[in-house]
């Protein structure tokens, strides 16, 4: 290894391993995701300086850009404070994980050990016949492994289509247009014609789950968006010291 390569290796090695350790030690799930993104990017740079530019770019675009981003989306949307459950959901999962881990370690050892025994050719020598790294990868994917490649892509497409089919719901009634909604609102007797009242502002409450007050001092229950209409009674204090109690009728399927 040249001096520059050695320097790059040590910097990247620290970043890669540090990212992996950080992922294990982080309390927050999003921080863990960020640490593992760091590991992935460092690995991509390692591939790049080891004459595998295509693998490096694919690593970043697919793993960092798509897979980790999907993870981040899920973590952000379903709430990240949920505590980890230690219950084994799939029976024998831990044992299987340990076995597969040991197997992978053995494979890795065999691979690295083989390097010390056999003479190393180098990636450049291996790909020079095809005219470069990119061309060599293309020849293998679309030449020798074309069947495996096509089968894999068929599998992925099947999975995507399957997910769409499972989440698809057939529409029973056509979609109402804006004009129809408006007409229905104004011909209906019960639906309000004006926009809904805004949530209230009190001395010690200022949030969307606080109902506004009607002229007679009772809470306007409609002013609270449906997701915040909790079943238990809530009390609020107005600026002049009155206490307001908001109770939503049970079984109101809003």
């Amino acid at each position: 290894m040249s001096a520059g390569e050695t320097f790059a290796f040590w910097v990247l090695a620290i970043l890669t391993v540090g990212g992996a350790i950080g992922m294990l030690l982080s309390r927050k799930a999003v921080h863990s995701a960020l640490w593992i993104a760091l590991t992935m990017v460092s690995l991509a740079v390692l591939y790049l300086i080891n004459a595998a530019p295509f693998l490096s770019m694919v690593q970043i675009i697919v793993y960092t850009g798509a897979v980790m981003m999907l993870f981040l989306f899920v973590l952000m949307l379903i709430g990240v404070d949920a505590a980890d459950s230690l219950v084994e959901t799939i029976k024998g999962q831990r044992l299987a994980a340990v076995l597969v881990g040991i197997g992978f370690g053995l494979l890795l050892l065999a691979g690295v050990g083989g390097l010390t025994v056999n003479e190393v050719k180098g990636l450049d020598a291996a790909t020079s016949q095809a005219g470069g790294n990119l061309q060599a990868v293309a020849q293998l994917i679309f030449g020798r492994y074309v069947l495996a490649f096509e089968v894999t892509s068929a599998l992925l497409i099947t999975a995507a289509v399957g997910a769409i089919v499972y989440t698809h719901r057939e529409r029973l009634v056509g979609k109402p247009t804006q004009a129809m909604i408006s007409r229905a609102r104004f011909t209906s007797v019960t639906a309000p014609r004006s926009p809904m009242p805004a949530p209230g502002v009190f001395a010690n409450h200022n949030a969307v789950d606080t109902p506004a007050l009607l002229p007679d001092g009772s809470p306007a229950l409609d002013s609270v968006p449906a997701p915040f209409q909790v079943e238990e009674a809530r009390t609020f204090t107005t600026a002049d010291g009155r206490v307001i109690t908001a109770v939503y009728p049970e079984g109101d399927d809003k």
Partner: protein
């Protein structure tokens, strides 16, 4: 004269990096000024004209003001990620410019070198990869702010960038097929005779549309839709951290324009009438001028769009990306690949290929007319009207069979008033 990449002396690499950095910052300052002046002109105003000649230094003055503002970190924010997010955004946008060829081989202090920091066989993929890391800045900014609007803005923004990155990547495939390379300098040299905007016009149109979506600019600036989301992902940011996001947005605009110039407009090559009249137009430092001119042509279009078009609705925008841009580019890739394969392996030249395709299309058109005539003669004129489809026949919800139409919702006004009456629900 051509020089291989990766052999520059260390001082030259540092110099080039510094020049690219300064170039991008200056272009950003100038673009901000240009945008304010041009949009002002389009809206019958004058725009900033006080600081410096023609108000040119207004951007710098605003930058100084921005930097001196109070830096607020919300109490609910995740501090480390909140600080990290603008840094990711700002650094990644500079990195992407490293592979853009600004000109041919020139002599800098006696050393012959390419006017490009570096290049490698997957340079265009490198730009896509860096762009996908840049999305992290936006997503993390939205999440770490600990507030609703930034989170919604970040989700919109990243969904938008990821969707339009697909269309963008697909539009590049045709260029790769024609150039036979993914390296930016080789793509430029492959356009010696004809620019790809002429050969691959559909790809160019798809790319330019998706680059506006990719940079979150009007009319696709939904993540910053101020009427709905305040400022989008950067609502909670202030002072220098906001400035970094602002800088990143403008540099991203410059980068996608530079990539469009490189891939479709011949990069640093002189426009057609100049290069035929003047032989020296494509050597020395002149190409830098052509490159910058093309770059600013794109930036002007960005500004023009912002001054002209209203913002799209989010669902329309997503529908356009997934149901129009992506399928159209897929079909176009198949056409381009088939034509290439026929010309290369079957030795069919393009004129005979066009003739064959034309003949096949004509036969198909004639056949469809003949079939239509035959069917209409055989079928009786009067078709019995089908009974209207009832989605709740027998009291159970039943999806329509193929050929049956959904009833209009006006027929079931009761359903609407109960579900849509409470629009907050």
């Amino acid at each position: 004269m051509s020089v291989p990449f990766g052999l520059d002396p260390g001082w030259l690499i540092l110099l080039k990096s510094l020049v690219i950095f300064v170039f991008l910052v200056l272009v950003t300052l100038f673009t901000i000024w240009l945008e304010r002046r041009v949009v002002a002109r389009m809206q019958m105003r004058i725009g900033p004209n006080r600081v410096g000649p023609f108000g040119l230094v207004q951007g710098l003055a605003d930058g100084v003001k921005l930097a001196l503002k109070q830096d607020i970190i919300p109490a609910l924010a995740d501090r480390s990620v909140f600080i990290l997010a603008p840094i990711i955004s700002a650094t990644t946008c500079f990195i992407a410019f490293a592979v853009i060829p600004l000109g041919p081989t020139v002599s800098i202090f006696g050393t012959w070198t390419n006017l490009q920091l570096t290049d490698f066989p997957v340079a265009v993929l490198f730009i896509l990869a860096i762009a996908s890391i840049g999305i992290y800045g936006i997503v993390l900014a939205g999440w770490s702010s600990g507030s609703t609007y930034p989170l919604l803005g970040a989700l919109r923004s990243s969904a938008q960038m990821i969707s339009y990155e697909i269309a963008m990547g697909l539009s590049l495939v045709a260029v790769f097929l024609y150039a036979g390379s993914m390296s930016t300098s080789e793509i430029v040299s492959a356009q010696q005779n004809v620019w790809y905007v002429v050969l691959l016009l559909p790809s160019f149109l798809i790319y330019t549309t998706s680059m506006v979506g990719e940079t979150n600019r009007a009319p696709f600036d939904l993540p910053e839709a101020e009427g709905e989301l305040v400022g989008g992902f950067h609502t909670e940011y202030s002072s220098l951290k906001f400035a970094l996001f602002f800088l990143a947005e403008y540099i991203n605009m410059v980068t996608v324009s530079a990539l469009a110039t490189t891939l479709f407009l011949g990069g640093w090559r002189a426009p057609a009438p100049i290069s035929t009249v003047w032989a020296g137009a494509n050597s020395g430092w002149w190409p830098l001028a052509w490159f910058v001119a093309k770059l600013f042509a794109f930036i002007f279009v960005f500004i023009w769009l912002r001054g002209t078009l209203p913002r799209l609705r989010y669902d329309q925008f997503m529908k356009f990306g997934w149901k129009v841009l992506i399928p159209v580019s897929l079909v176009w890739i198949v056409i381009v690949a088939t034509a290439r394969a026929l010309r290369q392996s079957a030795n069919v030249d393009s004129s005979s290929l066009l003739v064959v395709v034309g003949v096949i299309l004509t036969i198909l058109v004639v056949l469809s007319f003949v079939l239509d005539a035959m069917i209409s003669r055989r079928m009786p004129r009067e078709i019995e009207p089908e009974p209207e489809f009832d989605a709740f026949a027998g009291g159970f919800p039943v999806p329509p069979l193929p050929g049956q139409k959904l009833p209009t919702p006006a027929a079931s006004a009761q359903t609407i008033s109960s579900t849509e009456g409470d629009s907050r629900g």
